[in-house]
Symmetry: C2
Subunit: 323 residues, 2 copies
């Protein structure tokens, strides 16, 4: 079994191959625009709606690329990951489409809805305690027992190449973009943007948007080396994870700037998008818009692609209803 | 001033003219599909997303057709209506685009958010008491004082011709439809579907979907004459109004059947759409899906266009959070 860190960094040829490979299993998601949002920000915003993606998030691109890139021999043993979020759903979905096992290690405290969704897509859950030690021990056991291929949520080059197909579509769908902005957690989507844009449109600026309360990427970017947060706490729960060596490579080399927003700004932007654009999206997806509203001087007059990363949200616990 | 009932019924030529007239002011809204919904229902569903329409609802089609069809002389006096819903917003939007006054009579008890939205689009509100007597008296006073052109929310032939552009787009966007289904309140959208389909695709079945608790159209359809509900009570607040002579003409002549759903079925279908399709839509829009789920034998194996009529919903009061 290869560790993903041993694999070489992905190239743009890998992105083209990934796109061809995953096309039958993903949506070419639509672009939405909003006159209201354009007036509000002074920019021309083009929202790439990965909330409409299969399994409800862009993560299915990278997961499908990993799953469908396996040889039949490798695939027979299945895939495995640890995640309680969209990567777990996406890997289960992709494995289900190929008809191979998918083993997901999740903390026993993860929401039942997430567990149900993984099972609904055909994944098998092994529960661990909600600690890094337990997760690593349980995951090692599962991997040893099954021989499944480990697909890391973002540090895996196959995953980065898969996520890069999103910005490739965006560039085909919208002419004359000046900038692209995406939320940053572990950096899989942002790395994908870097990989695509540095190859086919190196003049396009790349912004990453991060919650102020989980600003490890921001601090890493400013410091010039990876800094991991201790225990970040943000409503944007998809963005709590730290950068790893492969995503750091792209972020440190190709990102124009990282911008941050407060929890209140994120919730306001999320609610505004639901109310005005009529789309259901996760708190994480609202971080880019929050930073655009906060930094009008950066974006005014520009044509900006905004990656709406996913729509898997708990409809019983909307953040503006808290308290 | 003409009463809308004196105007002749609209023809398909009126629809073509309306489409040309309103194109600059409306979106050609996208079609969304969902593998999940297709599996659930056994039909191929094509959702026509008028929740992404200008002002958040299909009503802007009819309102724009009325506003932009006025002569300069007529337009100078403005337009007027009584509505506390999407028609009020849409007429205000359209009048604002033409730069003419829009007078809206609303009960003083209408939600502040709706009043704010009308004012935000440039409309002027005159409040009445929440009774038919007061509304009619106040509206007559406003019309006499201003000379504004009365644009009825659905019984106006210009409005019906405008709404008919929605199904015309749908037929251009999706090939080989077997049926179209839309919610029915006053019958403006359904009449528009009848007008378009009876002319360009008379083989396509037309279903209307109605809340069981506001089933006046269903009972009228079965009885063969208009029956108005006394005081209907449903979460689908856009569907409480009764049919009028012009919409009854189309409904009685061209509708295949009217299907009903309970409040619980409507709320379940609404939540399912938010959760699975990631779109924000009103309770009214969930009625068609609720009836499709309830009557699989009617739709199984068919290609069905489903009109999602609007997305103006109070995000603080989602129906599954009630109680």
């Amino acid at each position: 079994m290869k560790d993903q860190a041993e694999r070489p960094l992905p190239t743009f040829d890998d992105v083209i191959a990934a796109h061809e490979r995953i096309k039958p299993y993903i949506h070419r998601t639509p672009i939405l625009t909003s006159e209201f949002m354009n007036k509000l920000t002074g920019a021309d915003l083009f929202f790439k709606c990965e909330n409409f993606q299969k399994a409800g998030a862009f993560k299915v691109r990278g997961a499908s690329n990993a799953v469908f890139g396996l040889s039949d021999e490798e695939a027979a043993l299945g895939v495995a990951t640890h995640s309680s979020g969209n990567h777990a759903l996406s890997l289960s979905y992709a494995a289900g489409r190929r008809g191979i096992p998918c083993h997901v290690v999740m903390p026993r405290t993860a929401p039942q809805a997430k567990k149900d969704a993984v099972i609904g897509y055909g994944g098998t859950i092994t529960e661990c305690e909600p600690s890094t030690t337990s997760r690593e021990a349980v995951f090692a056991e599962v991997q040893a027992r099954t021989g499944a291929d480990f697909v890391h949520p973002y540090n895996d080059p196959r995953v980065i190449a898969g996520q890069a197909t999103c910005s490739r579509e965006l560039m085909e769908q919208v002419e004359g973009l000046d900038a692209v902005i995406a939320p940053i957690g572990g950096g899989g989507m942002v790395s994908g943007c870097c990989l695509t844009l540095s190859n086919i449109a190196p003049h396009v600026e790349i912004y990453a948007a991060e919650p102020e309360q989980a600003d490890d990427a921001y601090r890493s970017f400013k410091a010039g080396h990876i800094i991991a947060d201790d225990s970040p706490n943000t409503i944007a729960d998809g963005l709590k994870v730290p950068l790893k060596e492969n995503t750091w490579h792209f972020v440190s080399n190709n990102v124009t700037d990282i911008l941050t927003a407060t929890e209140e700004e994120i919730i306001d932007a999320m609610r505004l998008t639901w109310a005005r654009m009529k789309i259901v999206m996760e708190p994480s997806c609202a971080v880019p818009l929050a930073t655009i509203i906060k930094n009008p001087e950066v974006f005014r007059g520009k044509r900006v692609g905004v990656i709406v990363t996913g729509g898997n949200v708990d409809l019983d616990k909307l953040p503006w209803m808290a308290g």
